[in-house]
Symmetry: C2
Subunit: 407 residues, 2 copies
């Protein structure tokens, strides 16, 4: 390898974020490069969840909705996420899943552009984004079309009602320029809907400065909120009171406890919540976000880029792998991806050796680089393990071959 | 009182469900009659949630989706709920919130009745049911109308696409005849959508025998699944493959891990899930359901009715209170409700004395009677406390008066 393990270790010694690693449970002997799929357990989460279960639910029961602030939890955590994504107070709330939030905001955005019938997105966007748009278009029966473009800029025209993009691509790790694309959408008369699932917590975001209209994001990737953690959504202040959301549940009512028979949307971001929120999952999410807020984003970004550069440099000699991630730093999120025709088997062999990345059909090996707990030596060791797998042809063993049921 | 505390205690000694009380954490000195809003913590839940957090998430990380069956959790728990509601295997799944599930099923049902524009429901239905229907109708822009009737049977005509009802009314505790109303809906050419939130786990249900088309229900009331526990939904087998749900998320795809660009619904009930499920909240829910499955439903129903009869008998002398719950057993769910002009202050005074019921605007005192942990002496003590509050005029104290912010 073009750099020694000792040199990688030296980078760790200079890492100002090194101390954050102790905030997470990281099983001995494992190199975890899948935090872009499921972030690890923060050490503090166990006690917090236990407290919510035993003290709040167990002892205070129904009174916890007020006494322990459960009723405000979605908003309190939303305000913390707002700080992570460069959003103004009162613009961000935790609710439902990313998919459900996409539906809510996309439907509301289409309603704001009644004369336009195209939802423009990128070919290769995360499937749930595409599926939600397809399902909504079919459901509305108003002739909407989901257009998947390779170059969205050249396809933006006056038929486009909403430009819906994921900030960092889930496979390649390529990152869009939020400000430039939002400007282009606005210039074309469209609204911009951003999915921040693969960027929040790992790359800098400044939604307000970038003029973003609406956005959604995921809680269980770089925010380390736990499996299936609730998602969040953002609505720019100036749009909130004119936005008609399709999912008008009781908690989004202006006076939920008045039990009125007619729906009146809550003022501001409050209308974006729907049903009773999953308190246990919310409690876990808050711990992950609190940790993310402690880390200076500039340092997070610098380390993320450095980890990726190390990974790409060490992999440069592995000519059988095609780098899918853009090499230019501003075009990269916080993951690296390589294509290999035998990607599935190779990833299985890596996982068996304790290097946890993941595989995405048809041939992508994906490695998430979460700066709060991934070390430079982890990258060195991961690549060394990969080289060992390739040299020994370990991946050719029968047990690593793709089963038909895994597609 | 017309019955002594000792006589109530004698009823507890003969109660075949008495042993279930030990399965729940019930704080000393508290009489908890609000399990129809939030069920108490099962003793086993703490360890189970701890295991999922520490061992499954903490140690196995992303591998838990397969190794610990997270990916099947919504379906595994759904199958258990199916047994509670008299549904066939493969018809019930845990997903999202009750409100979101209502939206999904109501939208799909309207799509099956394209020539009909009326959603018929009951005046006084739970607000989120009304709000979701109103929001959906507005969103579709197809001229749908939400009709709230006092007598739905006389309002069922050939304009009605969906009859949407809550089985047990959240305020009065009045219970509908599922079979008769579903038959009436079908005879009128409409589909029947039932909200089981205030009945599941407390009253017998036989969805398949009753010919129910679609249904939703709540996990945190009589199922004791924890605050904001995920909800469930039911789709009759014969309708599943023809039902077009509007929220087409990646987990409802026929092959979610193929990451195809076009949505193809999963066969059967699988299409009704949307995004990644909240695993911690699901784990807690499963414990509550496991306990419910151990209790013979006939015994649960018999005790529920007996608890309510005792409550109503003891309250008969309290002429200032108007009974809102039907006295005929087949017309009752598992709660009793009384109106009193000073209901709010009276409930506050009761809560301060350790009797937890709840208040619903404008004047309703509501008491949930969960047969798995509520004792006959609890009813006796609750009514004795209420009499004491009334005799001493304790509720007139300033601190019990309604603040303007509570509406």
């Amino acid at each position: 390898l073009t750099l020694t393990r000792e040199e990688a270790a030296a980078l760790d010694r200079c890492d100002e974020l090194a101390g954050f690693r102790d905030r997470f449970v990281l099983p001995e002997g494992l190199i975890y490069l899948d935090g872009n799929s499921l972030g690890p357990l923060p050490v503090a989460t166990k006690a917090r969840v236990g407290e919510v279960v035993e003290r709040e639910w167990g002892q205070s029961l129904i009174r916890s909705w007020t006494d322990h602030g459960w009723i405000d939890l979605q908003f309190r955590i939303g305000e913390k996420i707002a700080r992570l994504i460069g959003a103004a107070p009162g613009t961000t709330v935790v609710a439902d899943s990313t998919s459900v939030n996409l539906y809510k905001l996309l439907a509301a955005a289409l309603h704001r552009r009644p004369d336009r019938r195209v939802i423009l997105t990128e070919a290769g966007n995360f499937p749930t984004d595409l599926y939600i748009a397809q399902g909504l278009a079919a459901h509305l029966q108003l002739g909407h079309e989901v257009r998947e473009a390779t170059n969205v800029l050249s396809t933006l025209d006056d038929t486009v009602g909403v430009l819906m993009l994921t900030h960092v691509n889930y496979r390649s790790g390529a990152m869009h320029d939020v400000a430039a694309l939002t400007r282009a959408a606005h210039a074309a008369g469209a609204l911009a809907l951003w999915d921040l699932s693969h960027s929040v917590g790992a790359v800098p975001l400044q939604l307000e400065a970038d003029g973003v209209d609406i956005a959604v994001g995921c809680g269980y990737k770089y925010l380390n909120g736990g499996p299936g953690a609730p998602a969040f959504l953002y609505i720019a202040k100036h749009m909130q009171n004119e936005l008609r959301l399709p999912l008008t549940g009781w908690l989004g009512h202006a006076a939920p406890f008045a039990f009125e028979s007619g729906y009146r949307p809550a003022p501001g971001i409050g209308r974006a919540v729907v049903g009773t929120p999953p308190v246990l999952s919310l409690a876990a999410l808050e711990i992950g976000i609190d940790i993310a807020l402690e880390a200076p984003m500039a340092a997070v970004r610098a380390k993320s880029l450095a980890l990726a550069e190390l990974f790409m440099t060490l992999m440069a000699e592995e000519s059988a792998f095609t780098l899918l991630t853009p090499q230019a730093a501003p075009r990269r999120g916080s993951q690296v991806a390589f294509a290999h025709p035998q990607g599935y088997a190779i990833m299985q062999a890596l996982i068996e050796r304790g290097v946890i990345g993941d595989f995405r059909s048809p041939d992508v090996l994906r490695f998430g680089l979460a700066p709060l707990y991934v070390r430079f030596v982890d990258i060195w060791d991961a690549v060394a393990t990969l080289r060992d797998v390739m040299r020994s042809a370990a991946w050719k063993q029968d047990r690593f071959q793709r089963r038909r049921s895994v597609t």
